[in-house]
């Protein structure tokens, strides 16, 4: 019980620091960086439920993001339904897609699942371009800048920042719960060995599907929220496969299958990417991507468990050492 409370206090402190940071910077350039960092922390965490816990590497997660973004935006532009509802509708539509993907692909193991998720994201991209009447085609959709709570458009960046922080709190709460629950144990078992897992009573398909549904919901909500922040969506922004590989990379570098890993990954890599792009983007097109890629590959090669995974292992080892010394 004490441990649990400690954890809650630590998370509360972490979020408090984030909020204070947002209040202190009071500058849209830096607030935008903070928002981007928190947004990617959310998306990497959501990806981690499927990729990290269940071990099903998806590179089509952008499909959920895009579907969430288009759902809330279309509901608002065509039917004037407030994005407050639209955001949840986006999450639910993403879950419906997850269900469909689940039935089609979740029996596939390893690389076949991964490949089929790319295909699904690509199909949605094509559909978004083709259904011009609904989606605005490749020109995309603009959300008019008319700040109000109903329109879910805000003057202050800080308000958006708080929205993303709320999303992150929700995600952290849900994943922390899963982490300790039967579902979490079953997901890790499925990741490690499906045959052994099922021999211990784990319904492998159901576990994978549960993970995919939860992950899709949060990714869809995140996509809808992001659309409200950008006030613009087009197929190539919200259905690009590079989003999926990015959130996967953030999780892997931070440490998959842990609550904190993907957050660590985003807080280190997202600012790094923004920095490299702003320093090298103009003169050396693409160079920043190269450097960024090299850094990521190095981390993965040197510490396969990711930054947080390696740190927590080191701490555990140290504790054990101290314990042994004390008992000796």
């Amino acid at each position: 019980m004490k441990l649990l409370n400690n954890k809650i206090i630590r998370w509360a402190a972490f979020f408090l620091v984030l909020i204070i940071a947002g209040l202190v910077v009071d500058n849209n350039y830096y607030l935008d960086i903070l928002i981007t960092v928190v947004f990617y922390a959310c998306m990497a965490s959501a990806w981690n439920i499927v990729g990290g816990y269940a071990g099903q590497v998806s590179v089509g997660h952008v499909a959920f993001l895009g579907l969430g973004a288009y759902t809330s935006t279309i509901l608002f532009l065509k039917l004037n339904i407030t994005p407050l509802i639209g955001i949840f509708a986006g999450g639910i539509m993403a879950m419906v897609l997850a269900l469909l993907i689940g039935f089609l692909t979740i029996r596939l193991r390893g690389p076949f699942f991964t490949l089929s998720t790319i295909a699904i994201a690509e199909i949605l991209l094509v559909l978004a371009v083709r259904f011009h009447g609904l989606t605005g085609g490749s020109e995309g959709l603009n959300i008019p800048y008319r700040p109000s709570v109903y329109n879910f458009v805000f003057k202050s960046y800080f308000t958006y920042y708080m929205m993303f922080i709320l999303l992150m709190i929700a995600i952290v709460a849900v994943i922390s719960y899963i982490n300790k629950s039967r579902t979490g144990f079953y997901l890790r078992a499925v990741r490690e060995d499906e045959t052994a897992a099922s021999s211990l009573g784990v319904d492998v398909l159901r576990s994978k599907l549960t993970a995919l549904l939860v992950s899709a919901f949060f990714t869809g909500v995140g996509g809808a929220l992001y659309a409200q922040y950008l006030l613009f969506i087009d197929p190539h922004t919200v259905f690009t496969v590079s989003f999926s590989t990015k959130v996967a990379a953030l999780s892997i570098v931070g440490g998959i299958g842990t609550v904190i890993g993907p957050i660590v990954g985003s807080f280190i890599l997202t600012p790094l990417e923004i920095f490299l792009r702003s320093q090298l983007g103009g003169t050396y097109q693409g160079l920043y991507l190269l450097i960024y890629g090299v850094i990521m590959v190095s981390v993965i090669l040197i510490i396969p468990k990711g930054i947080y995974g390696a740190l927590s292992d080191a701490i555990k080892r140290r504790r054990k050492q101290v314990k042994n010394e004390l008992s000796a």
Partner: protein, 240 residues
């Protein structure tokens, strides 16, 4: 459990060929046979890893031939794997908790239950280790512990004593006997004849997928067909 005319083919090869037998509730049954005779395949069909090509498997009066593995576990059947399949990136305790979560829904209760089993198998000092860092003997015990954590009525053990030293082997044997005394039905695949003879009430012998004998150990040991089957495989028939 009743196995009736079960066959499993792999592209023409009958790995298990028309095997029928019953395993009495509360008994220990030994399953022996030379390498490649179909013992593990029979376990795989019984436990739901493979579906039988033909035949039926009944448990508690229900036809479970085509049930998936996890449903069979829910019905009270558990097994170990000859080639151990530990969850390498979670701790030993967590490995066992995957099993104990089946009947204990809270984290606390499944942890307590899992700890009890680790103590029982005398591997509680490894609770926080990752299986990949442990020797085979411990991995085999983790394999047993995980299966036990599902509180099975019938337990299938596939060469759990292979690779253990005599002392460890005796310890596992004692555990098996004790579990059986508590009411668990146990089927043991084992190459070490000494072990089978010591604990099994009944021994089933497979050769090239076919059942060639089923009787009490003393009789099976003298069966000429069994001796012949083992002839080219003396190494295993020996008391090693």
């Amino acid at each position: 459990m009743t196995i009736d005319k079960v066959t499993k083919e792999f592209g023409g090869l009958k790995a298990v060929n028309d095997v029928s037998c019953t395993v009495k509730e509360g008994s220990i049954v030994g399953l022996i046979g030379p390498n490649g005779s179909g013992k593990t395949t029979l376990f795989n069909v019984i436990s739901g890893v493979y579906k039988p090509t033909a035949g039926t498997i009944m448990l508690d009066g229900k036809d479970i031939s085509y049930l998936s593995a996890h449903k069979k576990t829910m019905m009270g059947m558990a097994r170990t794997f000859q080639v151990v399949k530990p969850f390498n990136n979670i701790s030993v305790l967590e490995n066992v908790m995957v099993g104990s979560y089946l009947h204990n829904h809270s984290h606390h209760r499944s942890e307590e239950f899992a700890k009890g089993i680790l103590e029982r198998l005398e591997i509680d000092q490894f609770a926080d280790e990752y299986p990949k860092n442990l020797p085979l003997a411990i991995k085999k015990k983790v394999e047993i512990a995980r299966a036990l954590a599902t509180s099975p009525k019938i337990l299938l053990l596939d060469e759990v004593m292979g690779g253990l030293n005599p002392q460890e082997t005796d310890q596992v044997l004692q555990t098996i006997v004790k579990l059986n005394e508590e009411g668990m039905t146990i089927v043991v695949i084992e190459h070490k004849m000494r072990c089978i003879m010591a604990i099994a009430e009944k021994v089933i012998v497979l050769d090239s997928g076919k059942m060639i004998a089923m009787d009490v150990p003393e009789v099976v040991a003298k069966n000429p067909e069994v001796i012949k089957a083992y002839l080219g495989d003396e190494y295993h028939a020996e008391d090693k």
